[in-house]
Symmetry: C2
Subunit: 350 residues, 2 copies
């Protein structure tokens, strides 16, 4: 049952979340976010997460329909407690609040804590860019990354996202871990039985390793920059930890029992600096000049942040999304447990 | 004439800038910033810059005493035109404005254009952290870095700085180029006749090189992440280019005739999220846990951003600052040209 259209996957995901107690609007938002990740090629953040989220609902770690509370607020800042609702629902609300505040007050920061996994940061920063503003996002989560020089997992992959509106060029949409790679990449190599390139992980004794299994036997991911300049990725990751873990009140990766994401969102209203149309013309010109650069041997083109995802999206929208056998089996089991009839959804061919 | 005390160097620098037309307060600010860089071990941003700045004054590219204009302003944002004044003077004013705005309005962004070289970013973000706030800074400048996959110099080293206040631990003060290294590092290797480690530069044809001369013969610096994940450093550098080059109105690195720094400063008032004392306790705890990590073979300790600079500062404050012969000779010539009596300053032993 491997290749499904995005609409079908969304419908399946929605029905499952509703069957597990999610209000319709929340089920829709979360499902859209997961399928969007699949469309963009980030399967580790796609419908495979239905399994994790449903388990979290069952053990009470994720509470569909939880009230979202604004615990502190000024005209240009807010602190939100998610009460363990869906990360996507709380984070979307946080970003919409930040956009509204930046519209009125030039710049805003909104942090959130006590919420589940929010998925890809680019989903939220893109909301700001679609409104002609700059979107910035950082999150922390559970520890998988060693500090530069250390061999314990004390930091999260601590991703950062920047989104900028463009004119004719596709949206500038950066979304990167500050570790040298995300954990999902190592897991894929493990499942495929492949070795890793040098410089991604260390084993439990702190020695460099190319065996993906070592990450899951006490090893750690390395910060961006590797042995040569890993203090840079480490420093950035630590800054994310401070903003998304401490300023948000969510807690740091190293703390006992850390779950969910700590969230730091920021929005800047371009119009308070220059007309947004002028900004778009200038960023288009920058992108065109960069893309027209003479190439290094071995490269065929230069890709702007977000461009690869957009291309994958076009292909998968037309050709469908491949779901691995094991993922599909587990989703089917979860659905059957609450009488969600996948066969009906599939036969409707939506 | 190689080793001088910080106070003596500051005095020499002040007198030279005054002799070349700088108002006393500007001469003091710029000199403090340059000597501070020497104290912290960043000699490439230290008094060696006196030579460059004086030449810029002579050809009219740098205008001491220039009026600083606020061309756009809201309660939490501002856009500043420096009219080609000293970067340090304009940038300090910009950061002070940002701090005042964040104090009143939780968050602020201040951008600046038409100003000369501002020196180290950490000087400015530290001002915010000293006031119990978060300081963020980005600048762009002339092009030295190739995009990921390209071989033309189209981006600047595009540094980013984050400063956070701490309690008992030393200030968290990150200040890193988003290229794999700064240009100064390559220049030092060139002068010493040493090879570079792999992964820092490419030659004019885009091939990896360890010969520092290749950078100055049409080559380029590589973005942070190298061949493996250089799209990450490239993406960050491009984001800096957009915020510090486009949003600021300063122009991008790739544009013909680009000079000076484009500046993006941001300040966040911690008190609007949590009591700053609580923030300090939490960041202290984070720093202590990270520093207590079990080490990798070959490492003797874990350093927090800013820690190395602080240690160097203590040593150089006590032992003095070494000035290379050539730098000292050129500074002496510049001084003599305007009758600044270095011998008098040195004999006063300040």
């Amino acid at each position: 049952m491997p290749i499904l259209r995005a609409e079908t996957l969304r419908k399946i995901s929605e029905e499952i979340f509703k069957a597990y107690g999610a209000p319709a609007e929340e089920a829709r938002l979360v499902s859209e976010s997961l399928v969007e990740a699949n469309l963009c090629g980030h399967d580790s953040h796609g419908v495979i997460r239905i399994i994790q989220y449903v388990k979290a609902i069952e053990r009470g770690a994720l509470k569909p329909g939880a009230e979202i509370e604004i615990v502190r607020e000024t005209p240009s800042s807010a602190l939100i407690r998610g009460n363990w609702g869906f990360g996507q629902v709380v984070a979307r609300r946080a970003m919409e609040l930040a956009i509204g505040k930046a519209e009125e007050n030039s710049v805003s920061v909104v942090c959130a804590y006590d919420l589940y996994h929010i998925g890809r940061l680019a989903d939220y920063t893109a909301l700001a860019a679609e409104r002609g503003m700059v979107g910035v996002a950082m999150v922390n989560s559970t520890p998988t990354v060693a500090p530069y020089g250390g061999r314990e997992r004390l930091l999260s992959t601590a991703p950062i996202s920047y989104a900028f509106p463009t004119g004719e060029e596709s949206m500038f949409l950066l979304d990167i871990a500050t570790s040298v790679c995300a954990e999902g990449k190592v897991r894929v190599s493990l499942h495929r039985g492949e070795r890793l390139p040098d410089g991604l992980i260390i084993d439990k004794d702190g020695h460099p390793s190319t065996d993906p299994a070592d990450l899951y036997e006490g090893g750690a991911l390395l910060p961006l920059g590797g042995d040569l300049v890993g203090y840079k990725g480490f420093g950035l990751g630590l800054a994310v930890e401070v903003l998304a873990g401490i300023l948000s009140g969510a807690g740091c990766a190293y703390e006992e029992g850390k779950v969910g994401n700590g969230v730091f969102f920021e929005v800047i209203n371009i119009d308070d600096f220059m007309p947004v149309e002028e900004f778009k013309e200038r960023i288009d010109a920058l992108i065109r000049r960069i893309k027209s650069s003479k190439l290094r041997p071995g490269f065929t083109e230069i890709l702007i942040p977000g461009e690869l995802e957009l291309r994958t999206r076009r292909v998968r929208r037309d050709e469908g999304i491949y779901i691995p056998e094991r993922t599909w089996r587990e989703i089917t089991e979860i659905a059957e447990k609450r009488d969600v009839r996948l066969a009906d959804i599939l036969s409707r061919g939506c």
